[in-house]
Symmetry: D2
Subunit: 385 residues, 4 copies
């Protein structure tokens, strides 16, 4: 991504259905018919059909399948691919959610922007984070710096033009905790599962800081993971055991980019906040009366949303049972619910609805970002979806 | 219910939240403060928070709690209550669905109808069904006859005025199958779990027959459980091990009833068919633009819908994973999804969404019925909800 | 239990299978044929087939069914029964475990002891515990006092003759926590689920204190829930939301009791500690070579054991996945495993294996107590099982 | 495997623990330190930690990880590895079962047999099976022929010397069913999930036929999947979507092989049949009194067993709830139970207990095979475990 700049570029988004987490059929076809250049891929987001919790092997299975496929096509080792492409899988397609990959690639401009800013993408990394920095203010600041870097690469100058920031962040393992202890350092928590939430939370606050959603003064170290009144409107964070640093993918609109797509966002204030979904659609000039007409639904290239059970145990005063169900994890209920709410409006089920929303939207709600083709360009040829 | 007739009556619906399946707090309060006469109750529907599958003990726990409470209040044995009141629990409040009871009672008119037909209710039973009749044409005809009886009690003459028919039906047990065998009879299936589907299907077809949705000629014996092109637009059926006959609860609108409520229905053609939900609301003169305004949502007394995963494995062309998930039963996914879709429109989560929809709506869809207070009466005092 | 004393008594144990948690068939039959006097029942333990976790409604369903049945038979209100009979349900019959009730009753001696001490039982209650006392040293001391009381009622003077102490204890609810806060008091945890573990742990330590397993000096307040090197060899504790005080059931052997049964115990040091099971059997003079012969298995009236996944994540050096499985709760895996290990030895599956073993045996292990008919009495008539 | 013959060979078994299904650490180490030649591997069996049901992605994730690793080490494409090495993953490590790989390799003799027959292994394939042959007599006969081939390669002449036959077999997919229909052929079932059972059953009957456990006359076409009185004592079959033919791995003892290991088997008649486990151990000259002593447990290199819930719904007369639990699949309960029973005897939890036992042992039971180092050789150096 280091040279995503002066000659005009455009971002392409391919939405590929999958029959199982290792199903590479869609990518193979795009590569084989010359539609997509493997070297142009900068990020792949995927909704895989595991449980989205601790033992969700649909995620690493999909990641490894993608790495091996790209390595094979590019003639490099998988480790090299992992260094160059942000691959972020979110497990859990409960309810009607449909497993799919979102493949983001950057190529020389082939379709004009039509006069309005177009979808722009930039990726960046933090330095390696020490175990004692995870879930702490150091991770917040490192993430904020990476967001600024990625914005620059994406040629986005105003935070107002950023509409989605995906962060992939490390977690604490027993080994990392021990290593910190050997150096006499304390970690934020010795519970490895809990460390995922702290890392996601610190990452989301880093996004909020970079985008000016929260002022630096509001950010006391003790707020991380605790003061849920602080949240980003545009962050989506997930923790992965294989990382030692934060990966950041910034998406927004830029006059410096070409292409027929743009992005907008809103924030669902609770799990059934349809008004927020409609608001994001309106910003994309997609009229909605009830459910989107099929022609309008076709314009949508990606829906990226967060789902979390409200800690209050109620939705608009009515009790939900998500926290009480020992057979189905609460986050699984939440994804099914939010997926249904959004599908009702947009009329499609291939939605990237993910869980684990610490500091990402208010309690029980979450950010929602939508990428769509511009109205003027709907008649044009479009990438696979 | 034998005397629900000449002096004008009205149907009352109390929607009571529950903290657990044995939570009788709401009913106790209504009884204690004199709001509701225990003897006036004719039917109780409930969404309880179990898995809705084989080992869902939230259903019998709620049923027994209701029976013992009513028996205690009325000074009779629980068996007597069970004979007089239709108590039908549907397990499964996945996603955001909120556990609740719907208590239907009939009392002398206290609020006028306002000139339009009002919600009317009638209950009836079939004769005891022999094991070899379950899931067969005999059950279809017996159910149809009971629907006609219940319509008469509800003072509903035209099938067009019926908008919901809840049926509770028996299933085959090992003991009942053996008893049939001793008499030299064959049963529709020797799989007790499969018998539930056959019994629900035959019951739904009985409703369809009584309401003229299907002509008698279309109903060949082999169609039951197999020809899914035959379905009722208004039936909701559930099977219970404790029954030896069908119980039928008919709801509709009648000029012979008073009260401030009416009922309407539609059919969801797939799991995300928002147009059907909006259609039913329109029929009740409830304007919907996006999500119901809170004042309009308050008018809704009950939402009764069916949810089933499409057998095709797709929703509008996108794969769903409901049938492939060996950790969460497919019907649980479906309820969460349909609950989310409807909650998005009506803005509330205390919805009676149930599974097991053989011959109840098309594949992947299902009937939806809504009970609401009439527009003119919104300002009036209303039952607890 | 107030008059369980001077004339010689004997304890009877009926082990009753159940087809579902509300299945009272076995008790009805015993009452109807005059075998068992409802008034003689002092305690009922049951393994029900729910998930044994938060939303396990098989437990209250069974409890309520028992209360209503006994109330009906005794002509009193269910609340009176609840005050007089200890009814303790443990959810979870994973693997091959078979749902069953263990009904403990006390009646005048009808069969001699055969010269050796016989099974004796005593029950007692603590005073009501304030929220701030739960999971704290106050609960430890109150429980210890109740154990002493119950031992006296059971005519057991030496702690060495106590072989099982079942404790049912309260937990913290949001309401109780708020009540304590209003009085300016702090509670041990504001997490209601976590309070169950603290309450069980304090209760188990109370048993250990009463039986001299732990000296009072070892018991610092901070040890509760934390210092897992402190544990009882004979305590089994479960927390229930309906309680405000601890209920204690002590079982042991006493020369003051008649009857053909006795009890012994051992401690499984890990989940596959077969030697401990064999040790308990040996103490009962039950020879075991491989699996018990059927005639010896028939002598066993009850097996009471605790199961917990080891916190280390390994069993004898091999990794287990119990803590990593987000689809099946860790305690469910543990019960299935320990049930299999014990069933392999005793050759039967109606075993009372329960989870939640804080301070009840070492990490990954737990106490096991066995009640059996004495060798000399095997030929005699026996209670139903 | 084509040249496993004239110069004397020996079979090596490495049992490797895994931290997750993609954990190749153990193999990497063996390759890196020169202990194991990647080219010598003929079969890998693995217990992975998924649910063992439809959406168990731990299996293909492990298979792909192994294929890519071996391809990388051998400098060939993964497809070539898949053709040469039998890789068979069984999902489900419920209860205390520990995830592990069993790596079978064949190399020139380095340790003498000590005078008794040693563990021998042979693999073979059937021709490709047409969809209409799956679950039918053609698959039975093709499997039997492959078993005979594999026995020859393993230098085993008497069926009595065969002690385990692992079969991996294809299943019907929608595509394969359609292809058969286009040719005017009918398949055994149009239910793809049910086809797995038919394919496993036909494969097991093929083993039984080859080993003379069932005479050809007993094998009527209608028996497959229906007449459960027909079963193999040594077959273990699993179905995989990636196959179009049967893969067969035969293990037995042969005087033509060297090495310090041998194999024996028995049949568990129900899930708690400890006598069968002890019988297999005795055949290997492993004394068992209660649980194996650690030194004896160390001799055991692999335990291969089948687990299935009894269709009767009882174990020795006591009800089990495996079929009634809609939250946990019945096969998961069964593995946890049988794993506990066997672990109790052998004192270790890294056991290959798999489900899906059609025609593999009697209802509720299953074959058990054990590979162990010979008594005389215990003191010698041994492969990693």
């Amino acid at each position: 991504m280091s040279d995503v700049a002066k000659p005009r570029f455009q971002c392409r988004v391919d939405r590929l259905p999958m029959d199982h987490p290792g199903d590479m059929t869609g990518l193979h076809r795009l590569f084989d018919d010359g539609t997509l250049d493997p070297a142009s891929i900068v990020a792949i987001l995927g909704k895989t059909e595991g449980n989205g919790c601790v033992n969700d092997f649909s995620r690493p299975y999909a990641v490894d399948s993608l790495l091996w496929l790209l390595a094979d096509r590019l003639g490099v080792r998988p480790e090299i691919v992992a260094d160059r492409v942000s691959i972020i899988m979110s497990g859990g397609t409960e309810g009607g959610l449909s497993p799919h990959f979102l493949v983001f690639s950057v190529a020389a401009s082939s379709s004009p922007s039509g006069g309005s800013p177009s979808l722009a993408i930039g990726t960046a990394f933090t330095r390696d984070l020490r175990p004692e920095e995870i879930g702490r203010i150091e991770q917040v600041h490192a993430t904020a710096a990476a967001v600024i870097d990625a914005m620059a690469l994406a040629d986005i100058t105003s935070p107002a033009d950023v509409h989605y920031v995906q962060v992939k962040c490390p977690l604490l393992t027993s080994g990392r905790i021990a290593e910190a202890h050997r150096r006499g350092e304390e970690v934020v928590t010795e519970n490895t599962y809990a460390s995922m939430g702290f890392s996601r939370g610190a990452s989301a606050l880093g996004v909020a800081l970079a985008l000016g959603e929260i002022g630096p003064d509001a950010l006391t170290p003790s707020a991380i993971g605790h003061d849920l009144s602080l949240w980003s409107r545009r962050a989506g964070a997930s923790a992965g055991i294989e990382l030692t640093r934060n990966e950041v993918v910034v998406m927004g609109n830029s006059a410096g980019w070409d292409g027929d797509m743009s992005i907008a966002h809103s924030v669902m204030l609770d799990a059934i906040d349809v008004a927020a979904v409609r608001s994001a659609l309106s910003l994309l000039d997609i009229p909605v009366d009830g459910q989107l007409a099929a022609t309008e639904a076709d314009r949508i290239c990606a829906v990226l949303a967060k789902a979390e059970p409200s800690r209050s145990g109620v939705i608009r005063g009515s009790r939900h049972i998500m926290w009480d169900d020992s057979d189905i994890n609460a986050t699984r209920h939440a994804r099914a619910l939010v997926g249904g709410v959004i599908a009702g409006i947009v009329g499609r089920t291939d939605l990237f609805v993910s869980g684990g929303a610490e500091h990402q939207g208010p309690d029980g709600g979450g950010p929602i970002s939508i990428i769509a083709r511009k109205r003027s360009s709907v008649a044009n040829e479009s990438p696979s979806s």
